[in-house]
């Protein structure tokens, strides 16, 4: 087994790590960087709880060999909060809409919504549901999550 030296940007900071062959990104984040906000629910890209952003696009980190992030910019749920503690409008909107129950899907939901809003600041309901369709939620029935994304979108437009 030969480790590979990786360097990439993680939540705005340049980082380096020596990574074993096929370490999955989710494990790298959770173990090496202690960023446990990225969750493991199925390890097969079905539940979406492990979603992270890479160069602004949402991916399942459970299916991503860590080596793919070389030189890229990775954002996890921990990276959405500003240094001064202020939250992303999506995080605020999720709390206000009651979109969080057990919270296990929440990071994945917020990051998929973040990727959507960065490309499409005024999505309609169908577009929101489509963007969230790769994150399973067993608690909420999705309604308040969809509402939260709508609210965050109109918040950042106004």
């Amino acid at each position: 087994m030969s480790n590979i030296e990786l360097s990439f940007t993680l939540n705005g900071k340049k980082v380096e790590a020596a990574v074993a062959p096929v370490k999955m990104l989710v494990d790298l984040l959770r173990e090496t960087f202690n960023l446990t906000g990225t969750k493991v629910g199925c390890r097969e890209g079905e539940c979406g709880a492990c979603t992270v952003l890479m160069d602004g696009e949402a991916y399942n980190s459970c299916l991503m060999p860590a080596h793919k992030v070389q030189g890229r910019e990775v954002t996890t749920i921990e990276g959405l909060q500003q240094a001064d503690g202020s939250l992303d409008p999506l995080q605020e909107a999720f709390m206000e809409a009651g979109a969080v129950q057990c919270g296990f899907c929440t990071p994945g939901m917020i990051l998929n919504a973040k990727a959507l809003l960065s490309k499409n600041p005024s999505p309609d309901e169908e577009e929101i549901r489509m963007a969230l369709s790769g994150v399973l939620c067993r608690c909420t029935g999705y309604r308040k999550i969809v509402q939260a994304v709508k609210n965050a979108a109109s918040e950042s437009r106004s």
Partner: protein, 798 residues
Amino acid sequence: MSEKTDDRKKVKVLTKERTDLLPFVRFKETELAVAGQSLTRTDDPLKVTGKLKFGADYSPENFLHGKILRSPHPHALIRSINTTKAEQLEGVVAVLTARDVPGRNGFGAIIPDQPVICDDKVRFVGDGVALVAAETERIANEALALIEVDYEPLPAVFDPRDAMKEDAPKIHERGNLLSYDKLRKGRVEEGFEQADVIIERTYQVPFLEHVYLEPDVVMAYPRSDGTVLVEGPMQAPFTVRRNVAPVLGLPISKVRCRQIHMGGGFGGKEDSPIDLGCRAALLAQHTGRPVRIVLEREEVTIQTAKRHPMIMEIKIGALKDGTLVSFQGVIYDEQGAYASLGPKIPPAGGSHVHSMVMMPGPYVIPNVKVDAYLCFTNHPYGGAMRGFGAPQVHFAHEQIIDELAEELGISPLEIRRKNAFELGSETATGQVLDQSVGLRETLEACAQTFEWDRRSRETGYIDRDRTRRRGVGIGMGWYRTSIGTGGDACGANVYVHEDGSVLLYTGITEMGQGAFTVLPQICAEELGILVEDVRLVQPDTDLVPESGPTVGSRSTTLMGNAIIIAARQVKQSLVEAASEMLDIPPERVQFRDRKVFDADNQSNSLEFKQVAARCMATGKRLIGQGWWAPPASSLDPETGQGVPYFVYTYSTHMAQVVVDVETGEVDIEHYVAAFDVGKAINPRALEGQIEGGVAMGLGYALMEEVVLKEGVIQNTNLQDYSIPTALDVPDIRPVILEVANELGPYGAKGIGEMPNIPATPAILNAIANACGGRVRSLPADPEKIFWAIREAGGPPER
């Protein structure tokens, strides 16, 4: 009807005082400051930032990885086990077999019939035959593969009806019939003689997986003082403790269970932490090191409890005008390999008895007979899953009511109007519903919001190609608050500190339902402070009073009452102190918004913390201890007559669907769900329970099923086991009604489980209405709908 009764029937009526049962409940709606508010959940800031730690986010120092060797056979004798090779593998610290269990080799939520490690035989594919603890996960897994087990396969049984046959392979010494329960009211034969129309149908439901998003995890720590700590996501820490102690040969006082926030439970994390807790604790005791067991998703599906499958035969009779006169039902309830939460805890606990009690539905029927058989098979086992035996029977009774209405030529709405429970109705168990019965109100409110009259006319083909048909359906339901056992009590401690901050100790766990917000709301309401003044202590059996399990939609009501009692104890001190400080008689002291004031002169006031500080300084008691148990349940074992549960939540759902009659695909276009919840302590959180519950009922209706072949699950991952996505669930409209429960905090009763129950039949009835085909076996996937349309001779003409 008396005036009193009419009053009670009104929506939003609050209760009068009932001094005999709950002397402290005395309030008017306008007086409430914190309860009834849609406050943001207390744990949200940690959850939206990813800071909240779930079980798998902890890595104990110097811990070992625990793994379970699972049986590949559904039923087999174990001739021998050879662990030598596994033990020799470098990095393996322990390999345990049955002989290594120091105490009782069995666990179970009701009966300890599941071996911690199988000794002489295995009873389902996934039964644990050996345990390994190793330095890494990979080594532990390699060690499993090196354990040699010599099995002698036995004939297996996979159908509860086969299991009851005399020559059936015997799964447990006690026989395959775990429980036979019966309900007898009136005379069903005479009832059927009176009936103008009688129909008979059979309905069937499969095993269901909870699919809580967080896979199970547990950690066990041996402590130098001889105690063992077990941590993990668990709905019932006290039940885990009750099981781990005898397995380790320790008194209960030497086992400590600490709950970690759960990523969903839905009843499933009542059983699984017992299983994993016993096994991890055993490994920890043997190795002297912390042990963590994390299940991969497939292992969760293979190893943990499911919703019980059932075959339900119903015969129902009615008069021409739709009045129900007789109901006869038989339930073949499949328990699977181990008893789990199926069997009866007298008088009315256990899922099987609950199914029996619920089976005739929320309808007045003078003659009822139900025979309910609960049988072992060599399948995975049935446990608790949101609704605890009620979703299955609702699926059946709500459909047969529609089928009967169709036979009678009356509408689904009318037949329910005719027969639904109201205040004073007598249930099939002979219980007179003497308070908080809002079922009919939910029916009318739902019909109004849904616009039933209009939508029920706008059915039939919606496209020129005549491939898509629209239909509407109703599902009605009722669900108990509490669990109907003798020991259904909750304890709470409230500590007020001199700076006005408060610690609240309860054993009720948070799994996403919002208990950690609603319970502090009740505490804050009682003390006249803010929710942020109350810190809820994470449930820990060493710290919090026994509270029973977080199940049965019991937390808000039972624990809410216990908190009120505890808070009022402290309040006595606060009132005494304030009365001195304000120089007013005690009865004029009031609490609100962190202020303590004179009811007759609100400007004469103090800060709450000033009063608390005075109590501290003068040695007044600032610790309150509350304990509340609902009125005793009863259920005669011979007749099934009695009062099994003290209060019920009621609900009506209406769905509008479009069915593609050529493929069987279903779209849900519109959905309204109305509930009588007694009192919504946090309306937005309650809506969340409704919306999520409906989505779960939708999954049961259309796509979910644990597919088994010769005892082996065919869909262990989340690709093959489908749950609804954001594109499958419609925009659900919740309607909340409050017909106060005299025995609940501010009138509240349970809501956690109710929402998913009527959703399934509402959708099935809408499908039948749309396409003319009726699916009597879940899930109603496109294929089943397609064949049902065929069976009906094609879709209706119009």
